[in-house]
């Protein structure tokens, strides 16, 4: 599987770069104090199955666009795989101890670095942070997210390296929000409408990489920012290659045309083979998303808890995980990823028991009709299950479900739609019966998921939020409200453990498994590391290097 052309280029290039590195390291001071490790060298070609097209991190975008944002921008702070915050553009992570956050969580004061510079050489200052926060609150700007930042008031620029503001109300997830709020330069938006600014296609960040070239529909070339304030970058160039077909991407990974396989990673059916490929490193990484069957709780069939419990008892999770997913993803009982500090590992375990399910439904008064389908008070236990069409794995899962549920007198009809349709009104306005989806209810490391579970967060019921299944539970509301207002993880933990218990009891959704993804890379590429607190593999691109 040698690719002659590629090998020749990279060898010649590496020799050239080694020569250049030798020269620059011989001359002291060249390249700036930040480059203690020597000039960046080498390139990495990363395969993505979707194309990043949005370069302004505050406009509506999808996961894959974050791949670029992490490379060319920095937030004030970020989160490592263990959930620990570390500073980037901030000089230190603000905490109650160091006075960065007041006791009541309302007053924030952040010290910033003095050595960060934008890609065009302009120094980074507190003005840029203020500008970014103001931009998010500008009603005329098409912001992708205002949660958290809409609470910011009275931003004060104490000095070019210190900024302070007040929050309208205490909001614990705010630090996590800051961790995914990339700072954009004020001077790039002077006098232009931010929605149409040239910046949106010629981004300027403070990050370890600069956007060098974009070939639409094909790839994006990033080059090292040699004036980066932090540790890194070690690579001279990173290429994000767009390969829409998974089979094709995997093939190019095998032949070596790409160095790393990111979104959407290796499919479970190739795991065994991929693991044993010579010269490749293939690992399973956790992911904060979980696969589940979502109920539309407004449908009469699902208002009965017995029905939901019976359906869970009759769901053959083990087979779905083993047979369809090759045993790769771990089974789960909750929406919280197992890597999280707030994960509840003592939730009642799932049992696959058809008899028990049947008994439960009999007891609850669901009687089998002439056609074998149960009925009660004029409501038949029949419903549709929908997911995005074209996803074979899900289609097979649906068939599994259909089969086992038939044994307990439930008629499930498969009704799949294209993604653009599913994620429109169908999902957000509760037009579905049940859905088979992969969902992530956490935004980063913070356990706050109020948006998904609060009673008043259901659009179908007139609320604002993402509670698309119309879940309403007063205790859950309470726990969520408390959890979001406390700052200490030790204090918050019991609340979220209890929340998981409540939801496991109520079963507004049937949890199947937590996603595990299978990234692959060439042996010798160090740095890529799973991080469930970030949305994409390139969160630490600045630290990647060839050894």
């Amino acid at each position: 599987m040698t690719d002659t052309t590629h090998f020749t280029i990279s060898r010649r290039r590496t020799l050239m770069l080694m020569g250049a590195a030798g020269l620059t390291s011989a001359v002291p001071g060249l390249g700036g104090a930040a480059l203690a490790q020597g000039a960046p060298s080498g390139q990495v070609i990363i395969g993505f199955s979707q194309e990043p097209t949005v370069f302004n991190p505050h406009m509506p975008h999808i996961e894959v666009d974050d791949g670029i944002h992490y490379a060319i921008y920095d937030p004030l702070v970020d989160v490592d795989p263990d959930g620990i915050f570390y500073p980037l553009l901030a000089a230190e992570v603000p905490t109650i101890e160091n006075g960065g956050i007041s006791e009541d969580g309302l007053e924030w004061r952040i010290k910033l670095r003095d050595d960060a510079r934008w890609h065009d050489g302009t120094p980074f200052t507190a003005e840029d942070v203020k500008f970014t926060l103001d931009l998010l609150n500008d009603p005329d700007f098409r912001a992708w997210r205002r949660v958290g930042t809409e609470l910011v008031r009275d931003i004060e620029i104490v000095s070019p390296t210190e900024i302070a503001w007040r929050l309208e109300q205490p909001y614990a997830p705010f630090l996590a929000i800051l961790a995914s709020t990339f700072i954009v330069p004020k001077h790039a938006f002077e006098g232009v409408d931010p929605n149409e600014a040239p910046f949106n296609n010629a981004p300027i960040g403070t990050g370890a990489f600069k956007l060098k070239n974009r070939v639409p529909g094909d790839h994006i070339e990033l080059e090292a920012n040699t004036h980066y304030f932090g540790d890194g970058p070690y690579l001279e160039r990173a290429v994000i290659k767009y390969i829409p077909d998974m089979t094709v991407m995997y093939t190019q990974f095998k032949t070596g045309d790409i160095d790393m396989l990111a979104l959407q990673w290796i499919t479970p059916d190739h795991y065994e083979e991929a693991r044993n490929l010579p010269d490749r490193v293939v690992e399973i990484a956790g992911n904060p998303y979980f696969e589940s069957v979502q109920f539309n709780l407004e449908r009469p069939q699902f208002k009965d808890a017995a029905v939901r419990q019976a359906l869970y008892l009759a769901l053959d999770k083990q087979s779905i995980i083993e047979a369809l997913n090759y045993g790769v993803p771990p089974s789960t009982e909750t929406f919280m990823p197992r890597e999280s500090y707030y994960y509840n590992d003592s939730l009642p375990a799932h049992e696959f028991d058809i008899d028990k399910a049947n008994a439960l439904l009999d007891e609850a008064g669901w009687v089998r009709g002439a056609d074998g389908v149960r009925e009660k008070d004029g409501v038949r236990l029949a419903f549709r299950n929908s997911t995005t069409s074209g996803n074979e794995l899900r289609e097979q899962t649906q068939q599994f479900m259909q089969q086992t549920w038939k044994e307990i007198g439930v008629e499930m009809e498969i009704s799949n739609l294209p993604p653009a349709v599913v994620w429109g009104d169908f999902w957000s306005m509760g037009q579905f019966d049940t859905m088979l989806v992969g969902l992530g209810v956490l935004a980063g490391p913070d356990p706050d998921c109020s948006d998904f579970f609060r009673s008043d967060a259901s659009p179908a019921l007139g609320g604002t939020g993402q509670n698309y299944w119309a879940y309403q539970n007063a205790e859950a509301d309470d726990l969520l409200a408390q959890g979001a207002s406390l700052f200490s993880p030790e204090e918050r933990r019991p609340l979220y453990l209890r929340l998981q218990e409540v939801i496991r009891e109520d079963l507004p959704f049937l949890p199947i498994y937590q996603y595990a993804v299978i990234p692959g890379r060439k042996a010798g590429l160090e740095g890529p590391h799973g991080n469930i607190n970030n949305r994409i593999d390139t969160w630490n691109l600045r630290s990647w290097r060839w050894v």
């Binding site: 390139q43 529909g217 429109g424 604002t464």
Partner: protein, 316 residues
């Protein structure tokens, strides 16, 4: 002639108008929309989506949106993509070269080889060559392009390691040689499938001509078989091929979706699929109009070419 061209021009305009209206209607009737991909972004609420939709002008009544788009189009502004905000014409332009290269090279070889195969089969009707050529053509018709492409990659990239597994060029290179090497597999795959069509058409067309009286006359006059072939048969057989070639114009610039996906070739076909997936209305409408214009232009060129070659045909 001018009158003919003018009348064709007006006809084309009416057709284009019709195409745009139908296309616009169908696009907007599809449930979902360009913002549906953002529904699952953490923190995205219904209100925010509605507000963004309003800012993008998606809440206006359809006729207003259409009129706006059409008026801009007529003035040369094809709109901007919903995904990256770049002008539609620029986006189309970006992908055009890649498609032109791939389709041009593969069509060229397919036509030459197909024509040769077709003529030879017709002239040696019933021979081993004829039968084998027909079988190859049947296989070529039936074989799905993606399967052929994947097999080609398997053999030549994975197994033998002779050719790259896809892409238009190696990042950092992009020299003519580099592109040529990357072009081999996808062009060959496409050509193989189209050769089938060309050879069969050519064969039928040639057989038609051979049975004509003037060929007998030419032979009777004592001309060599080769001269009969070159001067009389081929010239006449080529006429229906020109019509076919004209109809190829939209494909030439429209790209081959499947091949482009299998070989990661950044062409127009892929652009179309991507825009459809994201419901990027301006780009989809732009591509639709572009294809429609090409179809009309292709047909017109074919008609003019035939009239030029065959003096018996009159335009009007």
């Amino acid at each position: 002639m001018t009158r003919y061209l003018l009348s064709r021009f007006w006809q084309s305009l009416v057709l284009l108008l019709l195409v745009s209206v139908i296309g616009f209607l169908v696009l907007n009737l599809m449930p979902g929309g360009p913002l549906s991909q953002y529904t699952r972004t953490p923190g995205m609420t219904r209100e925010m989506l509605d507000r963004i939709a309003e800012q993008m002008g998606l809440n206006r009544p359809l006729p207003v949106q259409y009129a706006d788009w059409a008026w801009n189009l007529v003035q040369g502004d094809w709109g901007k993509s919903y995904r990256d905000g770049r002008p539609v014409l620029t986006i189309i332009g970006d992908h055009l070269f890649a498609t032109l290269l791939l389709m041009g090279v593969s069509t060229f070889f397919a036509m030459i080889i197909g024509a040769w195969m077709g003529i030879r089969s017709a002239v040696r009707q019933g021979s081993l060559f004829d039968h084998s050529a027909t079988v190859i053509a049947m296989v070529g018709f039936s074989v799905p392009t993606f399967w052929l492409g994947l097999i080609a990659i398997f053999i030549f990239s994975l197994w033998l390691g002779w050719l790259p597994a896809g892409n238009m060029y190696t990042v950092g290179d992009g020299s003519v040689r580099d592109i040529a090497v990357h072009l081999i597999l996808p062009a060959a795959t496409l050509a193989l499938v189209s050769v089938a069509t060309w050879s069969q058409y050519m064969r039928t067309a040639t057989l038609d001509v051979i049975s004509q009286d003037f060929v007998r006359t030419a032979r009777a006059k004592g001309l060599t078989e080769r001269r009969v072939l070159m001067k009389h048969i081929v010239g006449n057989a080529v006429v229906p091929m020109i019509t076919l070639a004209g109809m190829q114009l939209p494909t030439l610039l429209g790209g081959a979706l499947v091949t482009e996906t299998v070989f990661t070739w950044p062409g127009m076909g892929r652009l179309f699929l991507d825009s459809l997936g994201y419901q990027d209305y301006p780009v989809i409408m732009g591509l639709l109009m572009f294809s429609a214009m090409l179809v009309l232009a292709g047909n017109l060129l074919a008609d003019l070419a035939i009239a030029f070659i065959d003096p018996r045909i009159r335009l009007d």
